[in-house]
Symmetry: C2
Subunit: 310 residues, 2 copies
DNA sequence: CGTGGCAATATCTCTGAGGTATCGCCAGCA
DNA sequence: TGCTGGCGATACCTCAGAGATATTGCCACG
């Protein structure tokens, strides 16, 4: 059975007349009679009653037509859906990101992308840098925001673009003696209880802090440890000590805290956007387009690294 | 686009290999390649990624395949549903009947038919004899149980078969003086308050009662009037008077009442099964088959009146 | 008893689905 | 680096069947 048979049966049921139905289908009457006859033979039941008053579906015909109409609707929808998926209007984007990316680049990009592609399902996975690359290579993510470029087995199959530099800044309670200073020196920091992020997931951050403070053990003596930047800011606000974190923290202003530069300026690994070099889904391409529009300088770097329509 | 394209795309997605997919479809590989290429051109998007590892759907392909599978399921179901409808296994039966038919022939027939055709939807309409025939002719009913054969315009297009004779009996409270009698005479009835059914809908019953009681006015002096036999029996049970109704009342035994014959025996119009002479739905044919099996003598009359498979 | 409208049948045509043979491409390999 | 094998695409042919035209058969009309 072919879709043609369904279309012909539906047209015949609508027109209730072989000649008119054939005309609307753009064919002559005899082929329509033949196709309907073939259909009835294949189904094994008479589908239409041919009366003087017109052609009407039998009980079997009604049952058949209900299914036929749904099948034709599905076929029409198949083309539409495929087109929308090909243009990246529907689908999903699985994005891995480090927690601090939620502060600065993500809100703007996500809200813009959400407005441009309302029917794309976003799957956001907060994860450490070290877990993103394997997930990308395994096809479990479409794109990731990490600290520093991807490393490890298969990283050569990934493309990465820096989307922002970063360095260590301090966050203190407004009531803190350092709050009024434009910057805080290392010596001043050494005299304070410090609040830093837990180091297991992001060793590069810990290494930067060690470089800054001149310690060489993995533990930062006497420091409070938090799992994410919001907690660091919260602890600093409560006066527990001086928080240290990425400059991207400034994107989370909060009454009662002040952000201060730290001297010497200590770089943190770049925030990097990475994805597989090939097999880009239309949604991923649309997402990269959004980033291009949102951050022109990142867009330029993107254009250098991926060929259009690859 | 034809169903063939959907089947080929689904097979290709399952086999992930043009050669194997073509083999399962019973065709050679080149035609499959061509049909898939035609499909992709018509849809306007690449549906499969041809890689060294195998052939896999793109995002557009996944969207297309989801619809394609549903369309193919609908097409398969269309044939199955049409077959079941043609055999009368599904569908509906619109049955008009007078209330008293619920006492005797209907319960047995309906329960048997419900067991034989569990997926047929029964639409039961209690209605007076006078309304059944127009409803049958207008195509609003498939079959009707009436008192006496159909009359009126178009009645010649109906077939009717008597399914039972009937006559007037009395129903009295067990405490009533007549309760012990095998039969009650007309003279005895005339001395009692009588309970009869309302006459507007079934004039033939009223006429029979007039014939029995020898009155010629349309009103039965001093009688209580009920709209259905259950009410007649209930009123009789409460001692209001002597109920008169069809002998089919005996099928509704109730503690506290007795049924008695009435002399002289007064016939009521036959209970008649009627339906249109042509355009029988498969469900109606199945229903008539059930009646044939349930009541052999009615079956014989049916066989006389309708030709098989008409 | 024509007559007109409609679906079915007969017959032909030509499109296009499917077959065979072959090519082009690339990964794996010596 | 050329060789080879596997796979999909291409080229070309064949014939089944979708569709066109002409005609028939069959009632409900006048």
């Amino acid at each position: 059975m072919e879709a043609r048979h369904l279309r012909y049966a539906v047209a015949l049921a609508e027109q209730e007349h072989f000649g008119r139905a054939a005309a609307t289908l753009g064919i002559a009457q005899p082929p329509l009679s033949k196709q309907i006859a073939d259909l009835e033979r294949e189904v094994g039941a008479r589908l239409f009653d041919r009366t003087r008053q017109g052609v009407f579906p039998t009980a079997a015909g009604e049952a058949f037509l209900a299914r036929a109409r749904r099948a034709l609707d599905e076929i029409a929808a198949a083309t539409v859906d495929a087109g929308r998926a090909a243009r990246g209007e529907t689908g999903r984007l699985r994005l891995g990101f480090i927690a601090s990316a939620l502060l600065d680049p993500l809100p703007g990009v996500l809200s813009r992308f959400g407005r441009e592609r309302p029917d794309v399902r976003m799957e956001l996975h907060e994860m450490a840098t070290s877990r993103s690359s394997p997930a990308l290579i395994a096809g479990e993510l479409d794109v990731a925001l990490t600290l520093g470029p991807p490393r490890g087995a298969g990283a050569e199959h990934l493309v990465s673009v820096p989307v922002g530099t970063d360095h260590v800044i301090a966050v203190v309670s407004s009531a803190h003696p350092y709050a009024g200073q434009p910057s805080i020196s290392v010596d001043q920091l050494r005299q304070q209880p410090l609040i830093v992020s837990a180091g297991e997931d992001e060793p590069a951050v810990v290494a930067a802090l060690h470089a800054l403070l001149g310690t060489d053990s993995t533990a930062l003596g006497g420091a409070a440890v938090a799992r994410d930047v919001h907690t660091i800011i919260g602890l600093a606000a409560s006066g527990v000590g001086v928080g240290l974190g990425p400059s991207r923290m400034r994107a989370a202003p909060r009454p009662g805290v002040r952000f201060c530069e730290v001297t010497p300026r200590t770089p943190l690994p770049d925030l990097v956007l990475s994805f597989t070099a090939r097999d880009h889904t239309p949604v991923l391409r649309a997402f990269l387009d959004t980033i291009r529009k949102n951050c022109p300088e990142v867009g330029a770097a993107l254009n250098d690294r991926i060929r259009p329509r690859s």
